[in-house]
């Protein structure tokens, strides 16, 4: 029904093909795919290396000079592909690949949560009456004006330590960062609901819920997918930031932010240890951001002119 009015839908079946057709999109897809594969295959990869993320290697550390690795370059060897962690001797490669699971899990879960809340609030505001819109929009503005970091820190400190941390991180990130999605959804809904096909559906007596689902939602795919793809790296950085501050997952569970946090005291003596998680995070965030950007170009050809 909406084929004639929404050019986006034509692109929909060929989104992957369109992405693949662009060199930037192809690289982003491959890197993101690799990262997800690494996270899934973490046990296999560490078994291949012959290490696990929690075994200490006291013998490889120089206790007299502060507990750094004995060997140069952070203790990189054939047994420890990316070296060992100072003061514990745990394998950096193993911690890195297991850390990817936490990063992806939290970033994915938080993004999904943000998407759901954002869609619900945005649609309700966009399709509801004047009062509902005013109320929900002011509420969105309110959430948007929260100091995210301070609020996350406060919430993470209040909730009992026994509550599973990855789930808590997802809930907090989703609960605090959904407002931008809601605003985009509301604005797009405002445009779409004035279209003829929506008026036609209304004349046929379709309920608001049906209009939202069948008429508006398909038109929202392009802007929402683009924005969501860009939220993934943002959430990833937020998780790393909170873990860096010691509010993320509890030890001995590995996470990138935690690795960066311990590395700060070591960057002058053992720069390898800070470079590995930092570069990994950089590559991941770049890949997800590039993917988001490529998706935007693929679904919104008009944007190319910009």
């Amino acid at each position: 029904m909406s084929n004639a009015t929404a050019p986006v839908d034509e692109a929909q079946p060929t989104l992957r093909a369109r992405l693949w057709a662009r060199p930037g999109g192809r690289i982003a897809l491959i890197v993101v795919g690799l990262i997800i594969l690494i996270a899934i295959l973490a046990p296999v990869l560490t078994a291949l290396e012959g290490q696990d993320p929690n075994t200490y290697h006291d013998g490889l550390l120089n206790s007299a000079t502060g507990g750094g690795p004995n060997a140069p370059f952070g203790g990189i060897s054939t047994a420890h592909w990316l070296g060992i962690e100072p003061t514990t001797g745990r394998d950096v490669f193993a911690r890195l690949v297991y850390g990817a699971r936490i990063s992806l899990l939290v970033a994915g879960g938080a993004t999904l949560g943000q998407l759901l809340i954002g869609l619900l609030v945005g649609l309700a505001a966009g399709l509801g009456n004047r009062w509902a819109d005013a109320l929900l929009s002011r509420f969105t503005d309110l959430v948007l004006s929260f100091p995210y970091l301070f609020l996350s820190i406060a919430l993470l400190a209040i909730v009992p330590q026994s509550f599973p941390r990855p789930a808590l991180l997802c809930i907090i990130l989703a609960g605090l960062y959904w407002a931008p999605t809601a605003r985009i959804v509301r604005a797009e809904t405002f445009v779409l609901r004035e279209r003829e096909f929506v008026a036609a559906a209304r004349l046929y007596g379709a309920s608001t819920w049906r209009i939202a689902r069948k008429e508006i939602l398909p038109g929202l795919v392009a802007p929402v997918v683009t924005f969501t793809a860009l939220m993934v790296p943002t959430n990833m950085v937020a998780e790393a930031g909170l873990s860096f501050l010691g509010l993320g997952v509890q030890p001995p569970t590995p996470s990138w932010g935690q690795m960066l946090s311990t590395a700060t005291t070591w960057f002058q003596i053992d720069p390898e240890y800070v470079l590995v998680p930092a570069l990994t995070l950089l590559v991941c965030v770049l890949a997800f951001t590039a993917l988001g950007e490529e998706i935007r170009r693929a679904v919104d050809p008009k944007g190319l002119a910009r």
Binding site: A157, L245, T264
Partner: protein, 575 residues
């Protein structure tokens, strides 16, 4: 009863790492110029002059009221302002743990069973305003510490003095504490309700500093206390800066423990560990005359010093007697079974724990409850030899004997503060070591702000926790009594007998040792008691920390006093 505050690896996350970068650049620029200023050797006769800078993390937000301060041996900065009946000996090495007379002519004359202690004051003692110091002022100083508005000092006076349990301080309707007598202006007598051979050590704390009644301003006294020491406060901005100048009425002829070399002491408060370490390491400009009274070097500076002899020469190390240990509640299964406790003793990997603390320069493995730095009360023993990295086979065998052939799952409580001695790094290290012996350790992080309240409350005490204990003075008594005396099991909060160990025979032994007034003999007896209790595996001693500190390149006569493990700044010179 002092738990050592976490002093190491203080990092305020992002902010600090930015400062670290800035500091690192500064260090790189100034590295060459710092080592050139070593001039003449130190001479106590000609050391006077100059301004000493002190860079500290403490904020001193609660001020400097001698009744409120909780120090060990009079502290560092308080000792420049307050003279006490006795004090610690200002020398480097093991003798720094000895108690010596300060305002008094000797360390105290005890009665036969050490329940009555008599002190005579030296002559010619004066405050910074020129008034004479009398024994009544010392009595008044002690009495003030009982007032509820001036709470904060150590708990011993209330416990030891006759009538101390009910006395409410000098401000109420019943201002006089009869168990302290002042028969004349230079004599003071303390009547205790039980034998306490360690009384001279307590008399070194700031509660025994004289306070002139006419100048007492109650709660406001902490901003401008009347000085009896070599310096007096010129300006004091809490949280920022404390500037000390000479007390012209102080005379070296009555004070053999303070050299008081610098003319001025400028104390910067509330700095971060990284800033202090970087400024001391680079030692540029006025920072060459700087020192710290509360900040250890960070791991990075320590590792850098391995390749930089000029930096290494400015590092000094010392000890505050402390023990970090694994605490069992021996009233709770499975820790009521001694075989299980022994299995834990065999299974621990002390090397991993030392590395988690920053390596062997910062911590030393310990198999005894009292650390060697306590002096004669240390008796070496290792009843359950775990070796450097743990004996998992022996631990498994003991567990099988105890009926846990298929292993054991228990929960370990730790402080979730990453900077704590009893924090996550140690918990992870224990977890991986015990796993080898078939013990699955579930980790229970307790929020830092609740930690003391949860662990020291008998109702909420975890069955297994990491804990740390430091002595108020270098003697076996404050080290063993609160931990193993069954009468010290406090219901509700503030209990440190985490084992909940209660043996009347041991209590009788403790009373007997407290009657010994010969210090060396008493320490031997404390050491024997520790060696006897060690056989029961009531705790698993893990390690004792070492303090490694840095000073500016122009500061002389720097040593770490072995009573507290920090610089003795009453002896340093910048001339």
């Amino acid at each position: 009863m002092e738990i050592p505050v976490p002093r190491r690896r203080i990092k305020l996350a992002a902010l600090t790492s930015a400062l670290l970068l800035v500091g690192g650049l500064a260090a790189a620029c100034g590295g060459s110029s710092s080592s050139s200023s070593s001039s003449a050797a130190f001479d106590a006769a000609t050391c006077q002059g100059g301004t000493l800078d002190v860079l500290d993390q403490t904020t001193e937000n609660t001020g400097l009221d001698p009744a409120v301060l909780y120090t060990s041996g009079g502290g560092a900065i308080p000792r420049l302002l307050f003279r006490t009946l006795t004090t610690r000996d200002s020398v480097a090495g093991a003798n720094g743990r000895t108690v010596v007379p300060d305002l008094a002519t000797d360390t105290g004359e005890p009665s036969a069973n050490a329940t009555v202690w008599t002190y005579h004051l030296k002559s010619g003692l004066k405050y910074a305003d020129g008034q004479a110091i009398t024994s009544a002022d010392i009595k008044y100083g002690v009495e003030r510490s009982f007032s509820s508005v001036l709470a904060g000092g150590p708990p011993y006076l209330r416990d030891w003095l006759v009538g101390g349990a009910t006395y409410q301080g000098p401000y109420g309707s019943n201002p006089d504490l009869a168990s302290i007598e002042t028969p004349n202006a230079t004599t003071i007598v303390f009547h205790l309700r039980k034998s306490e051979g360690d009384f001279p050590f307590l008399a070194a704390e700031t509660q025994f500093a004289p306070v002139p009644k006419a100048s007492d301003t109650g709660k406001n006294y902490n901003a401008d206390p009347v000085s009896s020491g070599p310096y007096t406060i010129q300006t004091f901005t809490k949280g920022k800066e404390l500037l000390l100048t000479r007390n012209t009425y102080w005379s070296k002829s009555t004070d053999s423990e303070r050299l008081a070399c610098p003319d001025k002491i400028d104390i910067s408060l509330g700095l971060s560990q990284t800033v202090i370490d970087q400024r001391l390491a680079s030692s540029i400009g006025q920072d060459a005359n700087a020192i710290t009274t509360d900040t250890d070097v960070d791991t990075a500076t320590l590792a850098k010093s391995a390749s930089q002899p000029a930096l290494k020469s400015r590092l000094t190390s010392g000890n505050f007697p402390d023990t970090t240990y694994l605490a069992f509640d021996t009233k709770t299964a499975p820790f009521d079974n001694q075989l299980v406790r022994e299995a834990f003793s065999y299974a621990v990997d002390r090397t991993a724990l030392i590395n988690a603390q920053g390596g062997s320069q910062l911590a030393t493995p310990l198999t005894t409850y009292t650390p060697p730095s306590i002096g004669a009360a240390y008796h070496a023993y290792d009843y359950f030899p775990a070796g450097a990295t743990g004996n998992a086979a022996k631990a498994k065998q003991l567990l099988a004997q105890a009926g846990y052939a298929n292993g054991l799952t228990v929960t370990l409580a730790y402080d979730n503060n990453g900077q704590s001695y009893v924090g996550p790094a140690n918990a992870s290290a224990l977890q991986q070591a015990l796993a080898k012996a078939g013990i699955t350790l579930k980790l229970d992080p307790i929020d830092d702000s609740n930690w003391d309240a949860v662990v020291t409350n008998t109702k909420t005490e975890p069955a297994l926790s990491l804990f740390s204990w430091g002595a108020d003075w270098p003697s076996g008594a404050p080290f063993l009594t609160p931990i193993f005396d069954g009468r010290d099991i406090v219901q509700g909060g503030g209990n440190f007998n985490l084992a909940q160990y209660d043996d009347p025979a041991v209590e009788k032994q403790i009373d007997q040792i407290n009657q010994i007034t010969d210090f060396t003999k008493a320490q031997q007896a404390w050491g024997d008691l520790d060696a006897q209790l060690g056989k029961l595996a009531l705790t698993v001693p893990l390690y004792t920390t070492n303090d490694v500190v840095l000073h500016g390149s122009n500061v002389k006569n720097t040593y770490v006093d072995q009573w507290r493990g920090w610089y003795d700044i009453s002896s340093v010179s910048v001339k």
